[in-house]
Subunit: 153 residues, 2 copies
Amino acid sequence: MMKEQGILNEQIKKCGLKSTKSRMAILQILYNNDCPMAAEDIFIVLKNKDIQINLSTVYRTLEALEDAGLVTKIQIMNEDRKLFEYNEIGHRHYLICVTCKKLVTIHDCPLGDYDHHVEEETDFTILGHKLFLYGYCRDCRENGEVKRTENSI
Amino acid sequence: MMKEQGILNEQIKKCGLKSTKSRMAILQILYNNDCPMAAEDIFIVLKNKDIQINLSTVYRTLEALEDAGLVTKIQIMNEDRKLFEYNEIGHRHYLICVTCKKLVTIHDCPLGDYDHHVEEETDFTILGHKLFLYGYCRDCRENGEVKRTENSI
DNA sequence: CTACATGCAAACCGTTTGCACCCTA
DNA sequence: TAGGGTGCAAACGGTTTGCATGTAG
């Protein structure tokens, strides 16, 4: 828990950012959380840790960390807030419960060289792709929380 | 152009919705547009057609059409607004220019029975997936509009 | 000591809602 | 003519910004 602080600290500095309490704390929270979080989630975790911070600082910090490439921002269907995650080892996809919004990260990619294939078939230079799977998690299924019509997937 | 009006009209009624000028106009705009549109885009098109309408009616109409399954709502990376499209023949994916936001619809799906595969490997019941490809369109590439660092794809 | 970080409050922007009026079925 | 549809204005929620102050390098 303490050990990674040095690494994160270095990562921040390497990007030309000043290492501050806020940045360290936020990067560490994302580093230790396996799911993307909304700015406000992070804000709440910080409060619970008695780290005093302003919500707009959370947003500015996340923006700085994203620009630096240390953090990634994603947007999920039917979730109005943007989510942020520590940007480790490149590529990943997401499995999301449409009922409770639970999010599971999928680390292997079924798409192989599909990006390359599309590049050949279109006018576009492909940078990458994002894949989201939607469904019901076990809890929601067992609790009968499956009434919602999701005709748009 | 006039021919489809009967079909759209019927579709609206079949869903238990009253057929009104707003609903017809909006559904027709989406029907004739191959790309997803933001509520405000639709609002502007209506204005240009001298169809007077209130923006909140556009939102309410889109919501009704979505609930009825006639329209689909999607969200795109780095686009704050929600986009809507006519919900024809089920499944499709999107290719988006990160610079100018140009959007191309891809009608074939490279994922085969991947949904089923994930269902077997997880606790989830899979409803479906959404796939977005990001890159530079030809115009932006030729205009040198490719400076942006997109390290999150 | 200086440039960048932060707190605070206010603005912002897309979207939603309450209420009175309107119009389709 | 009854119940859903619409206009208008105000609220809403997540995010951004201007400005004064604080702090890392």
